[in-house]
């Protein structure tokens, strides 16, 4: 069953700022779906439309069979949300925050208490439950935020950049929880991120979004496959001779001279590399450096957007991005 259905969704602010431009995608039940893109790509706007915080300008969005426009309350009951910005009440205890949310979702008191204990244990906040949230660290807040999104047992969990600004340890801890929840409870997870490794590690399928448009949608391994295999870079003292010899190898697809180096494209980097070294040695060619790189989502992203995710300039007008951020508050 497709639990999230998005058809031709557009969101325009102030009649001119197009934040989301006619996108369509589906998320199946029990799937982890990743929405990947740079800052200002339209990820948060999309998630806000999907979670009924913003009205779509155009298009059809159904969550757990309910139309976000016609049945917002039914949608709200079916989903859990871990927003990008923290939404905890600092002046209340962790447990109070959790139970407050449970009450708003009409979870019966007894069940709420049991679930709260269970979830607090899951994310290791049991001992901190009776402390005010203002004493929590960034990682603890995020973990509390995560289980608040789960207290009413939602069908879909929406996470907007859940590990933004967290250290690598906390990040991997959160990834573990998410995987566990997905595997053991069959929870459908919709996650936006601009960390490629996060998408690679967690997601069953990924959509890359940039400037409001979906550029590509597939599984991480398929996306990497499409880039066509591994890359070997070597620098030797005799480029011409080496190039000639290496190009005779069976599994080498392509060989180019880039500056002082040779760039070899192949499907079986692990196997080809030792062969290359052997040939060079046999022909008395001196190998100075060697590097093998497997395709990463970083390269996938580069391939489709024409720029790296880590570039600070997104190519998108900063003003528009700022306005969108402001609007989205």
């Amino acid at each position: 069953m497709e639990i999230v259905q998005v058809e031709n969704l557009s969101k325009v602010f102030d009649k001119e700022i197009v934040a989301v431009d006619n996108i369509s995608f589906h998320v199946k039940e029990g799937e982890i779906f990743g929405f990947l893109g740079p800052n200002g790509a339209g990820k948060t706007t999309t998630i806000k439309v999907l979670t009924t915080l913003l009205q779509p300008t155009n298009g059809q969005v159904n969550i757990a069979t309910f139309d976000v426009r016609k049945k917002p309350d039914s949608v709200r009951r079916s989903i859990g949300i871990v927003p990008q910005a923290l939404t905890l009440d600092d002046d209340l205890k962790g447990m109070t925050n959790l139970l407050l949310s449970a009450k708003l979702y009409r979870v019966p008191d007894k069940i709420a208490k049991e679930r709260a204990d269970e979830l607090l244990k899951l994310v290791g906040l049991k001992d901190a439950a009776e402390r005010d949230v203002s004493t929590y660290s960034g990682g603890m807040r995020k973990r509390l935020e995560l289980i608040i999104g789960l207290i009413h047992n939602p069908k879909v969990l929406f996470l907007d950049e859940p590990t933004l600004g967290l250290d690598i340890q906390t990040r991997s801890v959160i990834w573990d929880y998410l995987k566990k929840l997905n595997k053991e409870n069959g929870l459908t997870i919709f996650i936006t991120t601009h960390y490629l490794e996060e998408a690679d590690l967690l997601c069953d399928r990924i959509a890359i979004i940039d400037q409001g448009k979906i550029l590509v949608e597939d599984t991480p391994s398929n996306l990497k496959q499409k880039l066509g295999g591994d890359m070997i870079e070597i620098s030797v003292d005799d480029n011409v001779k080496a190039k000639e010899l290496i190009s005779e190898l069976n599994s080498v697809e392509k060989i180019d001279t880039v500056g002082q180096k040779l760039r070899i494209k192949t499907n079986k980097g692990d196997e080809v590399l030792p062969l290359i070294l052997e040939i060079c040695k046999a022909n008395k060619i001196n190998v100075k450096t060697v590097a093998l790189s497997k395709p990463s989502l970083d390269e996938v992203f580069l391939e489709y957007t024409g720029r790296s995710l880590r570039d600070t300039g997104t190519g998108f007008s900063d003003k528009a991005a700022m306005q969108r951020l402001w609007k989205a508050r």
Partner: protein, 291 residues
């Protein structure tokens, strides 16, 4: 709707009573009005001259008469101008309770702005609860806080030497006073919370509150009878709900009787609170939480 509102009201109150300093700092202002303003600007003392000198030519009966007049002046003023109150502080307390309601309601919207800033509002907006429950939770938590503060001020005013003296103390008087203060608080809280719903900055709220607080206080019968005022100000005071709440409260304190005046004041306050509640619910529903 009622359940969600109550859950959210409890949240506000829990945050409030965890910080006793907040409760007491809000009490300082009304107590200052009573203890400092009420004592030093006491109008009954202004005309009580004690060391008057008279020319020797004056007949002693006249001197006696004048001295007697001034000795009796404060009672006369209380009787003529201050509805026969036992002292000025009794007259003032009714007004100060209404002022306290105004001042605490004026800032009722601040927590909406904080919730928006800290993202908590987003959590409420994605929860399956009616939008108006968010609004009414802010309104009624403000009302409850204001009424608790009113009770404390009422007790303090009664304990101050020369302070509040009630003609009668019975359950009817207390209930009527608190119901009317409740209505005044509901009206103001609805108004100010509705104004804050779309505000993004705390500074705007402070500016608005400062802009209306003192004018509303002075253009009312809270401190002095409105007959002291020039005509144009009397007109303003007559549409100011504080005038009616102050009048109702002090009449009950001074006479202990539910007069026709009290009934009229009560009706005005009921109209004020009901109309603003209706207005507020429209604002919350159709305007306040839209993107």
């Amino acid at each position: 709707m009622i359940i969600e509102t109550w859950v959210l009201v409890k949240r506000e109150l829990e945050k409030w009573y965890k910080v006793p300093a907040l409760i007491f700092s809000a009490l300082i202002q009304p107590v200052v009005w009573i203890a400092l303003f009420g004592n030093s600007f006491n109008p009954t003392k202004i005309i009580s001259f004690e060391n008057l000198t008279f020319s020797e030519n004056m007949p002693p009966e006249v001197v006696m008469g004048i001295k007697e007049f001034f000795a009796n002046s404060s009672n006369l003023i209380l009787e003529q101008t201050f509805q026969g109150a036992p002292n000025y502080l009794t007259y003032l307390t009714g007004g100060v309770l209404s002022t306290l309601i105004l001042f605490s309601s004026a800032f009722s919207g601040s927590s909406v702005i904080w919730d928006r800033r800290f993202g908590f509002l987003d959590k409420l907006l994605v929860a399956p609860i009616p939008r108006s429950s968010i609004y009414y939770a802010k309104v009624f938590s403000t009302v409850i806080k204001a009424l608790i503060q009113c009770s404390l001020v009422f007790i303090i005013a009664s304990l101050i030497p020369g302070g509040l003296v009630l003609a009668k103390l019975n359950i009817t008087i207390i209930v009527v006073v608190f119901v009317s203060l409740f209505m005044l608080a509901t009206g103001f809280a609805c108004l100010f919370t509705a104004m804050a719903l779309r505000m993004r900055k705390w500074e705007t709220l402070i500016a608005v509150a400062n802009l209306v607080n003192l004018p509303l206080l002075f253009a009312s019968g809270a401190l002095f009878p409105i007959s002291f005022m020039p005509d144009w100000l009397q007109t303003i005071a007559r549409v100011n709900p504080i005038t009616y709440s102050a009048d109702l409260t002090r009449t009950l304190f001074i006479t202990g009787e539910i007069t026709s005046n009290v009934i009229f004041d009560f009706q005005v306050l009921a109209g004020f609170s009901i109309s603003l509640m209706i207005l507020g619910s429209f604002v919350a529903r159709y305007y306040g939480f839209k993107e």
